[in-house]
Structures are given as structure tokens and as C-alpha cells.
Amino acid sequence: MANIKELAKQREKISPGHRACSGCLAPTIVRMLGMAAGDTPIVVSNATGCLEVVTTIFPYTAWNVPFIHSAFENAAATISGVEAAYRSLKKQGKYDKEVKFVAFGGDGGTYDIGLQSLSGAAERGHNMVYVCYNNEAYMNTGIQRSSATPKYGSTTTSPSGKVEPGKKQYPKDLTQIMVAHNIPYVAQGVPSMWNDLVTKFQKALQTDGPAFVNVLQPCRLGWAFPAEEGVQIGRDAVDTCVWPLYEVDNGEYRLTYKPREKKPVEVYLKQQTKFRHLFRPGGEEAIAEIQKWVDERWEKLLKLAGEG
């Protein structure tokens, strides 16, 4: 459990004044990771994407920690090299600090183009925390569909139109893919539940070996909601069980949050323009399908977590 008074005392790892959209929760996720790290030094690698673009416009940087961006698909491979250097220099007695290694990638840089690099680094067992800030589309290039985009989500490359209903496929379950790598720690979080997320980041940073945290990041640009609504939408994602909060700690599933009352998916969907077309006449069937999909997956998760 994180203590907010203690967290507030931590030196920020990312400074204000970056160029993220108002209401963007990606820097919030970074701040929470930084709070979880506390006084432990971290080195960050970042995939090309919104976070990198808005924080590193030369000659400025928002990062108060060592930071490297090299390309889009390789945040995990890059940090694996940094971490290998650390192990090598330590082994040779040339370096004596205790450092943690963190990679940030969006869903495009993680689910899609960076999946191989992430899988390789996870399999090799590097001591790293990989954080996916998952806003469910390529927001930096202008809201294109990714394999994290939900079914029926309308994006600029899966637009809803007269004959198409938006994206036709369900999203890939990357969290489960990472669980299947048998790495020591995998979790899903959302910045709206700060205590849950900071606690997960603390666990991830304390993990000896690879840890993966998939964080749903409501995107005010791509999901088109008022700047102040992001936190609430994240909460709705959790309360509708669209994005359950859980962790898999050395193979043991644990639900970290169980909504008292499971809300219908409409509560979450209706706030986002990408699902607006489902709320026109004829969209009921699609919403029912999403509800069924969410219910089935929730039930499955409850069983895995020993709560079913």
C-alpha cells in the first residue's frame, strides 16, 4: 500500500512544462512510477510515441532521470542493453550503485511494432520494468487503430462508416501474453486508481527480473472527452470490468480491485467518441456483444484469481 503523504515528498522524475495535451494521463503514469521508485535511481528507455515526443523537444527535456529514446519498436531491447551494461560493469567492480531500469511504450510500441523486442527481453530475464501506457490506438500519428483498439472502436484507420462498424477485431490480450512468458510479475492498472497503480509499480520495481505493467490510459485526444474526465473514465473502465485490475505475481493471480457493483459497459462506452456510432439506432447489438465479451472474460478472470 502506498502512502500519499510519503509519495508527495518524492522528488518528481518528470517535471511539469512538457507538451502533453491538457488532461493527458501518460505523464501521470510516469509520475506514479517515479513515486514508486522513491530514492532508487532509475534509467528510462522510451519508445517513439506521444510520451517521448512531448517530453524531449530539444533543447528541453522534462526528464530528471537518465533517459534514452532510440526508436519505436525497441524500448525493451534498448533497456536490455542498458541493463546488461549495468550488470557487466557491476560484475567487474567498475560500478557500485543500485539502479532500476524502466521502459515506457504506448500500445503501438508495445502490442504491435515492439512486441518482438519486448518478448525477447522478457524471455532473457532482464531486470526491467516495462510499462505500456495503453491508450488503445496510435495517438501520436493521429488515432490509428492498433491491436489494442477495442472491437467497434472507430479510429482513423478503422473508421465507422455506412457499411463498417469501426474496428472488426477484438483487442489482443497482451497482459495474458506476458503472463505466458512466465516472468515474475505482470499487472494491469489504471492511473485513476492511484494507490493500486503505485503499489503495483512498487512491486514491479522490487521484482528481480522482468516485470510488465499494462496501464490503460484514457486519451483525451483519441477518445475525445473533456480534459477533466480522464480519471473518471478510467474508473468506469474498471467498474464496468472492461479493464479489470489484477496482478500475476510469480504465477499467482490476484484481483486487486473488485467493483462493488458491476456497471453496464454503456457507462464506459458512451463517454468516448470512438463508440459514438454504437449509440445510434442499430448499435444495441454491438453493445450487447461487447457486454457479453466483457462478462465472459471477467468470469474467467474471477476463476483464475480463485474468486469464481
Binding site: F67, A85, S119
Partner: protein, 403 residues
């Protein structure tokens, strides 16, 4: 004994029978980098394989990262180098092609990565044998490129490459190439230096800024808009302009210590040469033999071997061939540019301002490991003599291909 060695021109070290790959792996063991991240690819696989055994036997301090692709090999090497480690990888052909994106980034971030590259043809059709298509395609990536004629050169070049890449006025990634199979898999006598000599020659790597210096955080790889990108790329051009001075300085020190001489080019019987062949890599040896035969018949033939292709030694090339009547530029890759291979284009550009310049012809040869022998090279000299006599020539020729 030392005197005899000197007279034979062999230089310092001990004789060992090694293939090119073995010689390079041996040099890597002596360099003992902090991190090696690599992926297997024919014909460079052995380098990584032998090196893994060194790691397994505790002969090096290296952290070996067996990555899942060459893209990740270069990415991890970039991460390690940025972290403050001496970092290396090795690759060939499609592996280099997959690294392409990261080659530019390694240079742009000014990371002194050293990479042996075993030259192999690029697909399609897939072919595992030696030609220069792979590294010629990477010639504008900001890497220093040093080509080797034989295993000895690959060994010596790799050791010098560490010094070149890490020179504070250079700080550019450097690749050392050798022809796939022809050098990588052929056993030769290689004079290897003592471990301590290599350690002393390369020194320790002391980066100015590095990621693991957590008390002095900095951001590497930020975003430039139109207001800074050009200046940063301009500052990348600067060390490439000056690198040849340092390459020569380091070669001189190498020669002084170990008795083997290296330059940007190697002139062979060029003093009074009327006909010259400009060549890169293992074919230089074949060309030298052809020249010896021709010289015996009174033909004034010579060879210019390009050792350093990046930075391109345009002044040295110009000087080397200024007295020639006709020159053939040999390209072991086809630039598919419509006007001949990449070496041809650059050599022609080097001499274009001269009022008195030799006639030039281009020969594309040896693609996909196609053999080239002394007779074929002699035929090139015959073409040069004829062209010089008649003034008639075919600009771009394909040598040794069925048409």
C-alpha cells in the same frame, strides 16, 4: 628472431592458423568488451558462437546478450554503449539490413560501437555468399567503414577500430568488414598480438556522459524540429570529415608498436603504373597476383586497394591514380543506380575536377560469391589498354556473368 620477423614484414605477435571469423573472435576476446549483443547469421555466426564459448569459459568479462533479432542486437548495443559500456555486435547481410534503422541512430547518438561485418549478398534471391551489397548499402549511415583483404587485416583492423571509434574527436560507430566465406571461412596464418599488447593499445573507455551516471542525468535521443535537426546532423558530418587524420594517426601508432602498416588506401606497384584496378576486400589479393604476372610481361599495371571507404579518401584516390592512363573500378555490389556501382561513382567524383585524368571503367563482379580469378582480372587490364589506345570503352561492365 625479432629481426627476422621484421624483415619478413610480419610484425609483432605469434602465428596462429585462423579463419577470418576465428581471427575476429580472437580479437574480440582481447578487446574484452563489457557487452556483446548478437544474433546468428551466416557467415558471421561463428564469431558469435566462438565468443559465447569465451564467455562460458570465463575468458572475458563480457555480458553476452543473445537477442532475438539483429534489430534488437543493435538496439541493445546502443543501450549498452549509451549506458557507458564498451559494446560490440557482429552481423552480416540480412542482419545488417534489419539493423538499418538502428545504424543511423547509433551514429546520430555518437556511440562508439564497433562491429565486425562479414560481407554477404542481399536477398532476393537469398544467397549466403560474399559480396558487398550489404555494407555498401549502409555507406551513408554515419558509420566508419574499414574493409579487410584477409584475416590478418580483419584482426588488425578490428583492434584499431576500437581506438578510432572511441577517439574523442571521432566518436562514431565503426564497422570492420571481411568477405563472407572467402575470408570468414578460409584458414590463414594470422599473427596475433599478446593479450596485454591489445589491452594497452586500446586503453580503457571513458565516456564523457553516460546513462549510468545517475547523479548527472541527461536525455539522449530527444526530438529535434526544424530549428535544431540540421545543426545536429551538421555536427555529425564534422567528425567524419576529420576521422581520416585519426585513422592514420592510430595506424601509425599500430605500425610503430606492432610493425604492420595501414593507410586509407594501399597502393600496389602504383609508382609508375599506367593501368590500375581499384578494388575492395579479398579481391585485392587476386589483383596483386595478376599485376605481378603482367609486370613480368612489361605491362605497367598496379592496384589501389581501398581500406577505408567511410570516410571516403577522395584526395588519396585522386593522387594515387593521377598518373594512370586508364583505371578500372571494381564493384562487388551493383548499386542499381543506372550508372554503375557505388565505388565507381565515388571514384569518378574524386577525379572529376582534374584536368588530366585517367579514363575510367566500371566492373561489377563477384555478386553472390561468384568466383573472380587472376585471368578475369587480367582481362580487365587488357580492356584498359585497349580503351587507352582507342579511346573507346564500355562505361559499366559486368564481369563473370552469363548474359
Amino acid at each position: 628472431m625479432a629481426k627476422i620477423k621484421e624483415e619478413l614484414g610480419l610484425g609483432a605477435g605469434t602465428n596462429k592458423a585462423l579463419t577470418g571469423n576465428e581471427a575476429v573472435a580472437y580479437a574480440m576476446r582481447q578487446i574484452n568488451p563489457d557487452v556483446v549483443a548478437a544474433y546468428p547469421i551466416t557467415p558471421a555466426t561463428e564469431i558469435v558462437q566462438i565468443y559465447s564459448q569465451y564467455v562460458a569459459d570465463g575468458l572475458v568479462n563480457t555480458e553476452f546478450v543473445a537477442v532475438e533479432s539483429e534489430h534488437s542486437a543493435m538496439s541493445a548495443t546502443i543501450g549498452a554503449s549509451a549506458a557507458g559500456a564498451r559494446a560490440m555486435t557482429a552481423t552480416s547481410s540480412q542482419g545488417l539490413a534489419l539493423m538499418w534503422e538502428m545504424l543511423y541512430i547509433a551514429a546520430g547518438l555518437r556511440l562508439p560501437i564497433v562491429m565486425p561485418e562479414v560481407n554477404r549478398a542481399l536477398s532476393a534471391p537469398i544467397n549466403i555468399h560474399g559480396d558487398h551489397s550489404d555494407t555498401m548499402g549502409a555507406r551513408d549511415s554515419g558509420w566508419i567503414q574499414i574493409y579487410s583483404e584477409n584475416s590478418q587485416e580483419a584482426y588488425d583492423n578490428l583492434i584499431q577500430a576500437v581506438r578510432i571509434a572511441e577517439h574523442p574527436e571521432v566518436m562514431l560507430p565503426t564497422m570492420v568488414t571481411m568477405d563472407g566465406f572467402i575470408i570468414s571461412h578460409a584458414m590463414e596464418v594470422v599473427r596475433v598480438l599478446d593479450d596485454a599488447d591489445v589491452t594497452n593499445f586500446i586503453g580503457t573507455y571513458k565516456p564523457e556522459r553516460y546513462l549510468l551516471d545517475v547523479d548527472h542525468p541527461f536525455t539522449m535521443g530527444g526530438l529535434d524540429f526544424t530549428d535544431y535537426y540540421f545543426e545536429h546532423r551538421r555536427s555529425l558530418a564534422e567528425p567524419m570529415f576529420h576521422a581520416k587524420n585519426y585513422i592514420l594517426e592510430i595506424a601509425e601508432e599500430f605500425e610503430k608498436k606492432f610493425g604492420r602498416k595501414y593507410g586509407l588506401l594501399e597502393d600496389y606497384r602504383m609508382d609508375d603504373a599506367e593501368y590500375a584496378v581499384i578494388v575492395i576486400g579479398s579481391t585485392a589479393g587476386t589483383a596483386k597476383t595478376a599485376v605481378d604476372d603482367l609486370r613480368a610481361k612489361g605491362i605497367k599495371a598496379g592496384v589501389v586497394k581501398i581500406r577505408v571507404f567511410r570516410p571516403f579518401p577522395f584526395e588519396e584516390i585522386k593522387d594515387a591514380i593521377s598518373g594512370c592512363k586508364a583505371v578500372a573500378v571494381m564493384d562487388r555490389s551493383d548499386g542499381l543506380a543506372g550508372v554503375g556501382g557505388p565505388v565507381f561513382a565515388e571514384v569518378r567524383s574524386a577525379i572529376c575536377d582534374e584536368t588530366k585524368k585517367p579514363l575510367t571503367m566500371n566492373y561489377i563482379y563477384g555478386l553472390g560469391g561468384r568466383d573472380i580469378d587472376t585471368e578475369m582480372i587480367k582481362s580487365v587490364y587488357r580492356d584498359l589498354q585497349e580503351a587507352a589506345a582507342t579511346g573507346r570503352r564500355t562505361l559499366v561492365n559486368y564481369l563473370g556473368v552469363r548474359e
